[in-house]
């Protein structure tokens, strides 16, 4: 058998070229495509320090309990927060002058301080309408009090006890109790939640870090339990709200939950609100 290799090779050349071209294109594709997937990073679970806020005290003018306030940097003013003093009243005058009434944590005695006076080496530097600034070792410390507007709001709410929602939220000296029927009503009418309250996620470089209340309807359950426009809900029942999934999980379990412990950030001050569900 006589095989003409030259002629066979000539016939195969186009096929070999096509195979070569296809392989080269695939190889270029291989080189240009990524070899590894991007690393998924779970959102930081950095815990938030907070000042405990007893809801029942929102209805009183006194007995505010500050459990914990630690170093929190405010964006514009680089103040640290005092964690062992309650600010009961401010009498602010011009030039950041005036008097304040403070109370040490877990003590009954109140102390009146004027500008430039010292309390435990904290010198009262400036007095503003809603907060004061102390100075110690060249570091400035901010001490705030709940704004008067919110006080008025709470007082108005307590008077408005005729509506059904109020009947479903009872405020005693020691605790706030929400009736289960109110929760069930919200579960059944999911849309009603968004009629009464609007929230937007708060995003940092690490992802979602709580949900801000952008709108809250007056005289609704949300308003009556003490939430306000601008509050950032950081966690509910110690579940940090780092994603929509966290919020969904709470919504899903809400019919089994017997108490609600909401950590909020109000005017950059962490607070905690506790409710019982019966």
């Amino acid at each position: 058998m006589n095989i003409n290799y030259n002629s066979l090779f000539k016939k195969l050349i186009p096929f070999l070229i096509i195979i070569f071209v296809a392989i080269v294109i695939d190889f270029i594709l291989y080189l240009s495509l990524p070899k590894e997937t991007l690393e998924y990073t779970q959102n930081s679970t950095e815990s938030l320090v907070y000042k405990r806020f007893e809801i029942q005290n929102a209805f009183k003018k006194q007995n505010k309990i500050i459990k914990k306030i630690t170093k929190i940097k405010k964006k514009k003013e680089d103040y640290l927060l005092l964690n062992n003093i309650n600010l009961l009243a401010i009498y602010a005058m011009n030039n950041n002058d005036g008097y304040i009434i403070i109370q040490e944590k877990n003590k009954n005695d109140t102390i009146i301080l004027s500008k430039d006076e010292e309390f435990k080496k904290y010198k009262l530097k400036s007095i503003y309408k809603t907060y004061v600034v102390f100075i110690k070792n060249n570091k400035e410390y901010k001490l705030s009090m709940r704004d008067e507007k919110s006080k008025d709001k709470y007082e108005t709410i307590t008077k408005d006890e005729t509506t059904k929602t109020v009947q479903e939220i009872s405020i005693n000296d020691d605790k706030v109790t929400i009736k289960r029927t109110l929760i069930d009503n919200y579960i059944e009418n999911f849309d009603k939640i968004w009629q009464d309250i609007s929230i937007v996620d708060v995003r940092t470089s690490n992802g979602i870090d709580g949900f801000k209340i952008s709108k809250i309807k007056a005289n609704t359950a949300f308003a009556k339990i003490g939430l306000q426009k601008g509050d950032i809900i950081k966690s509910i029942n110690n579940i940090k709200l780092k994603s929509y999934n966290d919020a969904f999980k709470i919504y899903k379990q809400i019919n089994k939950i017997k108490s609600l412990n909401i950590e909020i950030l109000r005017d950059n001050i962490p607070q905690e609100i506790y409710y019982e569900i019966k």
């Binding site: 096929f15 495509l33 997937t37 999934n245 969904f248």
Partner: protein, 177 residues
């Protein structure tokens, strides 16, 4: 005619070699990274491939830090003239239960050169099934639902997004990209 068949043979050979040596895993990684940019992350999956198919098992899908779904198996066969993707046992996160049914038995996506202008898809779940037709030319999606009584009762909000068709006595959905 002889020339035409010769070029056709060249084309078939090119496509065969091209598909055979296609860096499928890298393409999959590229798709995963693209999804990541859209805040969709695929996690914990096991990737396997053969000459013409890929098989991805146990995929957790995370969207914007929310674990939204788990897929047991995605099997794809790519021949360019006939492409088929089979997605089996999809479980959406329980937290989405109030909005959409959480379990889907399978989703099938099919592209056939005999109908080059359409991509067909089927979704089958316990309480409903959907037939989807995607018009490539007009970028139009049409879905025809077959829903159970239970589905209609449980997901009225979802049905609001759909359109009731009197002829088929069920719901349809149309969307233009």
């Amino acid at each position: 005619m002889r020339n035409l068949s010769k070029y056709f043979l060249y084309l078939v050979l090119f496509l065969s070699v091209f598909i055979l040596f296609l860096p499928k895993e890298q393409l999959f990684i590229y798709a995963v990274n693209k999804l990541y940019n859209e805040k969709i992350y695929l996690k914990d999956y096991i990737y396997k491939e053969s000459l013409t198919s890929t098989n991805i098992k146990n995929i957790n899908i995370i969207y914007d830090s929310i674990n939204i779904a788990n897929i047991n198996n995605i099997k794809s066969k790519l021949f360019l003239v006939y492409n088929n993707v089979d997605i089996r046992d999809i479980k959406l996160d329980d937290s989405l239960n109030s909005f959409v049914p959480s379990k889907i038995r399978y989703i099938n996506i099919n592209y056939n050169i005999l109908k080059p202008l359409y991509i067909y898809s089927k979704i089958d779940a316990k309480q409903y099934s959907v037939k989807i037709k995607f018009d490539i030319l007009n970028l139009k999606i049409k879905a025809i639902f077959k829903t159970s009584q239970f589905f209609r009762k449980k997901y009225p909000k979802l049905l609001k997004e759909l359109k009731y068709d009197k002829d088929i006595k069920d719901y349809t959905y149309e969307y233009k990209l």
